[in-house]
């Protein structure tokens, strides 16, 4: 299914590596991009293409926290829990989100809008506490900011507070 749909792309990926197995991560990325998570049929398909057993693909998916094994909501809230953010109370960010959305890390809201996860360092240590929502960064979070981001996202599907990946504070103190 997946492989038929993206036949050319799969072939391009396979052509990059001398050993078939090396194409595992790019193909998993492809599967996740398509469905939002890596489904069991996708894992079986990938195993077949790469001449692996399904458990071998499964173990790789579970190793990388950025692969999701379950369907996720429209917005994937990934709060950094690594040391730098933890020092500036990333725990509180999780608590605020949990309070606001009534979910704990790993869960999805009933309306399928938000999924909350805690993840390792996202490389934005200077602007912690921070979280990534889908592909966008929201940095220097406060409770008001978090609530506003969540409200905006739920209402408009967008929020102007995002600072984009890898944007550092400018000298004027304003981002972007």
């Amino acid at each position: 299914m997946l492989l038929e749909k993206f036949k050319d792309e799969v072939e391009e990926i396979l052509s990059r590596y001398p050993v078939k197995r090396s194409a595992l991560l790019p193909l998993l990325n492809l599967a996740q991009r398509e469905e939002g998570f890596v489904s069991e049929p996708a894992m079986r398909d990938i195993a077949k293409v790469l001449e692996l057993t399904p458990p071998q693909v499964f173990e790789t998916v579970t190793f990388y926290t950025m692969f999701n094994l379950k369907p996720i909501g429209k917005f994937h809230l990934q709060v950094c829990k690594s040391l730098m953010c933890a020092l500036v109370r990333s725990d509180d960010v999780v608590t605020w989100i949990s309070k606001k959305l009534n979910i704990v890390p790993g869960q999805t809201t009933a309306d399928n809008n938000f999924t909350l996860s805690v993840v390792e360092c996202l490389g934005s240590c200077g602007t912690g506490p921070m979280m990534q929502v889908n592909d966008d960064y929201y940095e220097q979070l406060t409770e008001e900011k978090v609530v506003r981001v969540l409200d905006d996202l739920a209402r408009d599907g967008n929020c102007h507070l995002k600072s984009g990946p890898f944007m550092f504070p400018t000298t004027s103190g304003k981002s972007r």
């Binding site: 069991e40 195993a47 001449e51 458990p55 173990e59 094994l69």
Partner: protein, 893 residues
Amino acid sequence: MPTPSTTTETVTLTIDGQTATVPKGTLVIEAARQVGVMVPHFCYHPKLTPDANCRMCLVEIEKMPRLQTSCSTQATEGMVVKSSSSVQAQEARKMVLDFILANHPLDCPVCDQGGRCDLQDFSHEYTATSSRFQELKRVFPKEYFSPLIETQMNRCVQCMRCVRYCDQIMDVKALAPTGRGTLTEIKAFGAHELDCEFCGGCVQICPVGAITSRLSMYEFRPWMLKRTDSVCGYCGDGCQITFQTKDNALIEINSTQGSGRNNGDLCARGYFGYHVSEHPDRLTLPLIRKGDEFQSVQWEEALELVGQQLLDVKAKYGADAIGGLISGRCTNEDIYVFQKFMRGVVGTNRIDSSARYGHLNGVHALQRVQGTHRWSVSFEDIESADTLLLVGTNITETNPITGLKVKEAVKRRGAKLITIEALNPAIGSISNIVNLAQQHLGVKPTGFSTAILGLLKAVVEQSILDAELQGKAPAYFNAISARLQALSWDAIFAQTGLASDLFTEAAQVFGQGKKVVVLVGPGVLRSEGGFGMTMNLMDLLLITGKLTNPGCGLAPLAEENNDQGAFEMGGTGAVLPGGTSLGDPAVRENLSKAWGRPIPDTPGSSLPQLIEDAQQGKLKALFVVGENPLASLPPSSGIHSALEKLDFLVCQELFLTETAQKAHVVLPACSYAEKDGTFTNTEGHIQSVRTAIDMVGESRPDWEIFSALSVMMNNPMEYGDVKEIGKEIRNLLPGTRTLGPAPLPAQPDSSAIARYVTTDYQRDIAPRYQLPVNDAATDEITLQVSQSLFHSGKFSRKAKGLLQVEATGKIYLHPEEAARRGISDGDMVKVSNSLGEVLTPVGLRERIPQGVATFPEHFDEEIRQLLPYKVDPETQVPYYKLARVHLKKVVGS
């Protein structure tokens, strides 16, 4: 494990003050073991590549910075290693244990590994009585894992031995270490239950109680168990097994690493199939037919009746009105005494054994060409071969442990593998040998003969020929090449779907081999023309000059554990003990002198002949020992009417089988767990079987029953115990004196080869070098009734463990084949041909070629009515495993 180099180069090192001299490349941990220094370890195992993940085996090595893991460090000259004498290493191990125990639950009292657990032992040794960790331990939610294997992941020390074993040794790759860090958990695929070969290797190799056997769960503590070393009674591999018994009950089976022909590896049948002996249906008293009912009687009455009836039949119709049939599951001693009883007491040579079902094809081919009735190679030769050719073996399912030797040769030692198999290279839940093949010639089960001829043609066309032999026997070479040239590549392509260049490549790989072993399996030996195909493979070895090279040879795989022994002990009518011919008066005279009783000079007969004679009323009585021809042979063989015509049928059995239900007298016999003796495995190695549990009920070992019967028939043939029989056999047959750790393979006899290449080949070369006639209709499918990995004959259907893996038969198809026919998984289909029609559910398997359907022979009660029956003109082997059938989906299923 890097294989220690074969050169004699050694290094000398000091370990804890002791000097050790070991081959270069040996690991420090192994060198230490040799001088008696036990370095504690979890992740290291001699069979597996070093992983060095548990850090338990740290040692101090002089002039090396920091502590080193002894399981991944090779010994070098002058190395000074300190293990238990190093304070630093001891401290480090204590720390490692502290980390492991930070998460390991203290549930030793309820853990089945408690008492034989590495972690327990090392905790005692390093007195880890306190911990720096105060946090609660990691807890994994318990998930259902499999019907036979239990996991308790809280106990896991994450040594990854199970995962590596599953990958490196078994090539199954069914276990996945999911997650990371301390939260790594061994799982199957997602939340699915484990679906694998169920070899039990992960259970055996787990150093703690994380993976345990569900069959024996909580039934024992290790110190209660009595161990009995014996030999597995399923396939011909002859694996060493250790029965672990408690209060006369079989608790579990183990196999010790480093012992036996299997080196501690087992398959599902060996590891989980041991409950047969304890099945409640076991016969405990002799039964005598009274009308339609059976009546339990005492031994005296039953034996007297059998003895009297046999004497009556003999007096009335002559001794040749009595026939005998013995199973290849009996011990050598049983078979020897049986044939002695039949020849010496009853006075007939009309006996046969289950070696007739296919193994005889291989043995007769070996005997005819190279003059031996055993392989000229051993398992070690398979492991060290540089080129392997597998023909019709489906080795994972038929002879899994021989399969492991092939995997070892290919995966570890870089041997080249050529396969001619009715398998697709597809990854499935069990390992598939053709995935490892360098040259795979995939054919239908009917195409082996053509594929072998194609390979021979390529060999001849490439001139990969032995010039020396060609000089000696030009007529033989010319005859073969002339006949091969007459075959066209187009015709070969039409029958196999394989182009000539594939054969050419395979022939080139084959020709380059210095040590070449050809393994032949039931796909060849048990299908039509099996003897001719085996002979052609002998020709292949002969004309390429491989046959006489050391480490080269043909290895036909035996299906039952003692098929080879059944032949060697004279269990097939025309062959006397030792594989000697009945037709030779000198042999007969020697034997009758040794036995002190005459040996009849009437011809022996095979099972198909016995059936035919019974149908014609020439055979009046049949003595069946452990064999179940009604369930083995298809109705088209006429076995039903043959048995009905008999005046007297005796069955000596463990269970009331289909055949026993028709018998006039049923005598209860012992299983292999209850008696002593020897089995001869497929490579001709004789190994001891030992008593693990008491005899069930009033059952008796087979030889004892024959001995008692001979007394009843006033021609006593008495033995005190099984050792006396063994002694008699060893004195009579020089080739049986090879009880020991490894067999000495027989050497090809040059005079036999000379006879074959000068005259003998002419006899049947014409039919052998002809392409079979292929008249299949396009919508027909080839049905192959074949061996499953999880069963062995009908016998293992009494093993509750194996039934949990596979309990019913299904017809298996390739998914695309099924899709083309509009059939999906689980549908009911009508399988039909001119012989009948059968309803059966469908299963899908990618490893089955298109145009082929397979069905496990262990559940063939219904489907065997579709099988046509044909007898080999040369070896009298009955062929009945293949049929052409139509498939039709049953609507509304």
